[in-house]
Symmetry: C2
Subunit: 233 residues, 2 copies
């Protein structure tokens, strides 16, 4: 039975979604054969027919349709218990959930203010009006206004990263000696920022930069298998 | 061999230190017999002679002197492997470290602005000048000025608690179905605030309030075994 993952695709085969990235890493960690189906923002009607909601990633495994990256991770862990664990036990699972919630609500919100004005160029031109309209409604301002005071947002972002910086000076991965889903999930936000803007928001020589480099190197350089920030539109 | 833990003591037998509280919960979770040695801020010279640094908690186990609450937790886990685990595996341990760092740097810093002006009354009168002087130097302002805009700090604190609120609406403890060190460590900050101020910073009816209540009930109500906020000084 073929498993299919619908993931977000951007301008000229870019992969612009942190949620799709974390699911891709989870699948790769488990070593599962999956067909990836690139999905545009404009295909939300098709996604809704398939899954009852409008967002990717979704995983289709026979008659099972699983949406939401967290639920996909739980599904993979349950369906493939003999493959390497994404979590490492019940206590770790509970804590991973917290760290994912923290990262999305804290780092994710700040990253928007650091990349959105650039990020739109990573999407196919036809997807840009929807992106601009939906994000500007959510932000209550234009993408450009949201990103205007870069220095201030960078300061807040760096401050929010402090506990990660301290941790990663002590250990190689958030999960300890080897990466697990918590690392993929947090990394997916850095990958989103890395591919979504020409400006780096991680300080060189930091423990965070070293961790990101380790993450980029995983799975034969999976993080670099799709195009980077476009030099031209 | 008797194990001794030096923990902070305040006004009339109060226990005002979040770091001492988390070590006390760790010891209780492990079911270890320990003699507690109440320690005042003014006894820092004695603590320095014993441990080479000036802060409690410290654990003295024969010739071993362990300082810092995190290192105490690691020591207990290593020395008492047959007792219930404080972490639940390597991945959980790594993540617990992160959540402790996050909680202390984020929640801990915000709580100071919500309780410090009240909190000083939980200390013995002789300890108050040191507390005021050291904290006001660190804050760069008086305790009262740091706590002046309570509404603004409460808003920031509630926002910082959002990932915890979401998590605890899904599961009973941060570690999942049963509490572990990560719960004790985060709870110790709420316990510090709860005993250190007459004002509550947790919203009634919230998932966080329900978790705090579960935590207060643990170990035969350990959290309530010492005096609450003083009604008089």
């Amino acid at each position: 039975m073929t498993i299919t993952m619908y993931e977000r695709v951007g301008f000229e085969n870019r992969r612009p979604s942190p949620f799709s990235w974390r699911s891709r890493y989870a699948i790769t960690h488990k070593g599962i054969n999956v067909t990836y189906q690139p999905t545009r923002f404009l295909e939300a009607d098709m996604i809704e027919q398939l899954s009852g909601q409008r967002y990717v990633p979704i995983l289709v495994d026979g008659s099972k349709v699983v949406h939401d990256s967290w639920r996909i991770a739980l599904y993979l862990e349950k369906q493939f218990p003999d493959r390497p664990s994404l979590f490492g036990g019940e206590s770790a699972l509970g804590q991973t959930r917290f760290i994912c919630l923290w990262a999305d609500s804290t780092l994710g919100q700040l990253i928007k203010h650091l990349i959105y004005a650039d990020f739109i160029r990573c999407l196919a031109p036809e997807d840009r009006p929807y992106f601009r309209s939906s994000r500007e409604t959510a932000l209550g301002q234009s993408l450009e206004a949201a990103c205007a005071d870069r220095a201030a947002w960078q300061t807040r972002f760096s401050a929010a990263c402090e506990p990660l910086e301290t941790l990663l000076a002590e250990q190689n991965f958030i999960a300890g000696q080897a990466p697990q889903y918590v690392d993929y999930s947090v990394f997916s936000l850095f990958q989103w920022a890395r591919l979504g803007s020409p400006q780096d928001l991680v300080r060189e020589q930091s423990a965070l930069a070293a961790w990101r480099k380790r993450m980029i190197g995983l799975f034969d350089g999976l993080a670099d298998k799709f195009p980077h920030y476009p030099s031209t539109t």
